[in-house]
Symmetry: C2
Subunit: 358 residues, 2 copies
C-alpha cells in the first residue's frame, strides 16, 4: 500500500476514483498533437470526464470546441464557460427543443440528426432562440448504431435541413468502425458529390473515437475528430493497442474487505462503482498491486476477486489500485474525482455533468 | 404513447426513471405481510431505492429497522430520520471508523464482520462514540461472497467480538442461496451450539434477498429478513418467479431517437441509464409497448433495439416504457425518481443516497 493510497483512503475513504493530472495533461496534449499533425480540428467528447474544468484544459490546449452526447451535458458545459458545442445526438421532443433554444442563446450550438422527424422538430428551437441552428447529418458507415445508412439518405436529409426555416446544413457526423475507414471514404465521396448536385457543402466532416486516433488523417475531407476516452484511457484502450498502462490516468482505489478463503476475496468496489461494462475483456479491471488477480464478477458493492493465480495475495484492509475496463461509465458513478500529481494528493474536482442523461 | 408518457416527457424529458407509488405501497405491504406471517422482523435493504422517504414508508408499514450496504447510505438515512440501521458490510479503515462513530452517537447501529481484521478495528468506533457497538458475524452458506465459511469460524469470530472492548456480539448475518436453506439451517444449528458452549447467544439471525421471500419462515432461529428489490421489482424478479409484470413499480421512460433500418432502432437509454447488468437474462429490458422488441446491447447513451420479431414497430419520437433487468443499479444512475399513481403524475423524489459508495 503506497503512502498516497493510505492518504486517499484516510481522507476520502474507498472506493475512490482518482485521476493523475500529470497524465491527464499528457493525454490531452497527445490527442491534440495527433489532430494538429493531421491538420484536423480536435473536438473532444466530454462524456468521459463530464467536467467543465477538464474541458477548459482541453480547449486551452487547442481544442476547437467540445462534443456532448446529451443536452444536459451541454448545459453544464455552457455553465462552465465552454462554447462551440456539438451534440452528437438526435434531439427530440418539446422539452428538449426548449432547452436547446435556451442553450443557443448562450453559446454556439451544432446538433446531429439522422432522420426526418428530428429535422422537422429542430426549427422550433431555432424559432424560439431567434437564431439559426447548425445541423450535421449523422451517417452510419458500419457501426449500426445511429446514422443514415446510405449517402443518398444523407444528401436527402441535408436537403431537408437546408430547406427548413432556421436550420443550416453544416456537414456530416461519422463514427467509423476502426477497420471501416475505406468504406467511410467511399460513403463520404458519394455523399459529397450528391451535395454538390444539391448546391450544398459540408463545412464539417467529423469523425470520432479514441481507438480511431490512429486513423486520424486517413479520411480525405475530414475536418475534425471527437475522441473521449483518450483523456484518461482504460483497459479497453490498452487492449485496443492505443494506450499503455503508463497512459492510464484514472485508477479506482479500493479496499479488500473480505478474504473468506485462500483463493478469493472481496473488494469494496462492485458494479455500483466499476459498472458491469465488460468491454469484451476477461475480468473487470487490472489491479496494479496484483496483476495476476482477476476481478471475476460483481455484486452491487462487492468485487469478487479470484486469487487462484496470485502468489502475493492481498490482505483484508489493503487498498489496491484498479485500472477499470471502461472509464467513461466509471466517472459517471461518482460526484467527484480525487486528483493527484504523481505521488502527491492535489484535491478533487466535481463530475458536474454526472447523470445528465436527459 | 400514453397521455402520462407524453406528460412526463414534456416535463422531465427522457430518459426518466418513474415509480408508481400505488405499486410501491402494495409491494411494501406484501413484503411486510410475508415477514409478519412468518413472525420475522422486516429489515428492508435500502440499496434499491436509496430514498429516506421510501425508507420511512417501509418503517411506517411495520419494518423493524433498515439495512444499508455502505456507510454513506446509512448517513443519508440517519439524516432522513431513520433509526436502527444495520450495515451488512465490513467497515474498515480510519476514515470509515470515524464516520461510524459519528453515526453511533445519533442512531442505533449494527455492523457486520467476517474477519478478525474488521473486528479488531471496530473498538475504535465504539471508543470514539463512547457507546457499545452491536456486531453480527457474516456467514457464507454457499454464495461465496463475503462471510465466514464454517460454523467454527463464526463462533471464533463471535468470541473475538464478545471479548473486544466496546463490542457486543449480536448474532449472525446470512444471505442464503435460494436453494441453500437446508445447508443454512445446518450451519446455523452447529454455530448456535458452539455459541452456547461459549456462553454466547445470537439475538439476531438475519436472512436476505427478494427471491428468498418465498423461503422466509423456513430457517428455524431466524429473527429478521432483509429484502431490497421487492419494493420495486424488475425483470430479474419476474424471471425468478417472485414478481409479476403488475408488481413492477419502476419503469424507465425512453424515447426512440433513431430508426435507421427497418429491423433496428435506438433508444435514448443506454448503459448510463439502464446499466450493463444483464442478470443472466436475454436482452436488457422488457418494453411494455413492444414486447417482441429486444434491447440487444448498449452504448453509453444508446440502447440498440432489435425489432426483427416486432410487427408493430416504434417510430422515431415514440416514448416507450421499459421494465429494467435490475432496478437497484438503475435507481443509482439518477438523482430523482419521477412519481406517479396509476395514470396520474405526482412529482418526484430525490435519490438522496445515490452514489454513496464509500
Amino acid at each position: 500500500m503506497t503512502p498516497l493510497a493510505e492518504e486517499i483512503a484516510r481522507i476520502y475513504g474507498t472506493p475512490a476514483v482518482v485521476i493523475d493530472l500529470d497524465k491527464v495533461e499528457a493525454n490531452i496534449a497527445r490527442t491534440q498533437a495527433i489532430c494538429d499533425a493531421a491538420g484536423i480540428a480536435n473536438r473532444p467528447h466530454i462524456k468521459t470526464h463530464k467536467s467543465p474544468e477538464l474541458a477548459r484544459w482541453q480547449r486551452d490546449a487547442g481544442a476547437r470546441g467540445i462534443t456532448c452526447q446529451k443536452l444536459g451535458e451541454a448545459e453544464v458545459m455552457a455553465d462552465g464557460g465552454l462554447d462551440d458545442i456539438l451534440i452528437s445526438y438526435n434531439i427530440l421532443g418539446e422539452e428538449k427543443l426548449g432547452r436547446l433554444a435556451s442553450l443557443m442563446r448562450r453559446v454556439s450550438m451544432t446538433v446531429a440528426a439522422d432522420n426526418p422527424v428530428t429535422v422537422a422538430g429542430l426549427p422550433k428551437a431555432a424559432a424560439m432562440a431567434e437564431r439559426p441552428l447548425d445541423v450535421v447529418v449523422e451517417c452510419d458507415t458500419g457501426r449500426k448504431r445511429a446514422g443514415v445508412e446510405t449517402p443518398g439518405e444523407a444528401v436527402e436529409l441535408a436537403r431537408q435541413i437546408a430547406g427548413s426555416p432556421g436550420l443550416r446544413f453544416a456537414g456530416f457526423l461519422m463514427y467509423p468502425p476502426e477497420d471501416g475507414w475505406p468504406a467511410t471514404q467511399t460513403f463520404l465521396d458519394i455523399a459529397t458529390a450528391g451535395l454538390t448536385d444539391a448546391g450544398l457543402e459540408a463545412r464539417i466532416v467529423s469523425t470520432g473515437g479514441t481507438p480511431n486516433l490512429v486513423n486520424v488523417g486517413k479520411l480525405k475531407g475530414a475536418t475534425e475528430h471527437r475522441a473521449g476516452t483518450s483523456i484518461f484511457n482504460d483497459r479497453m484502450q490498452m487492449a485496443a493497442g492505443v494506450a499503455s498502462l503508463e497512459d492510464c490516468a484514472l485508477l479506482v482505489y479500493s479496499t479488500v474487505v473480505s478474504r473468506a478463503a485462500p483463493e478469493r476475496g472481496i473488494l469494496d468496489a462492485g458494479s455500483k462503482t466499476l459498472t458491469s461494462d465488460i468491454g469484451g475483456l476477461d475480468g473487470h479491471g487490472f489491479i496494479l498491486e496484483h496483476p495476476e488477480a482477476r476481478i471475476a464478477r460483481f455484486a452491487e458493492e462487492h468485487g469478487f476477486l479470484d486469487l487462484a493465480k496470485c502468489n502475493d495475495r492481498p490482505k483484508v484492509g489493503d487498498v489496491v489500485r484498479i485500472v477499470p475496463n471502461h472509464v467513461c461509465v466509471v466517472v459517471n458513478m461518482v460526484d467527484r474525482l480525487v486528483t493527484v500529481r504523481g505521488d502527491r494528493l492535489v484535491g478533487d474536482i466535481p463530475v458536474a455533468a454526472r447523470g445528465r442523461l436527459a
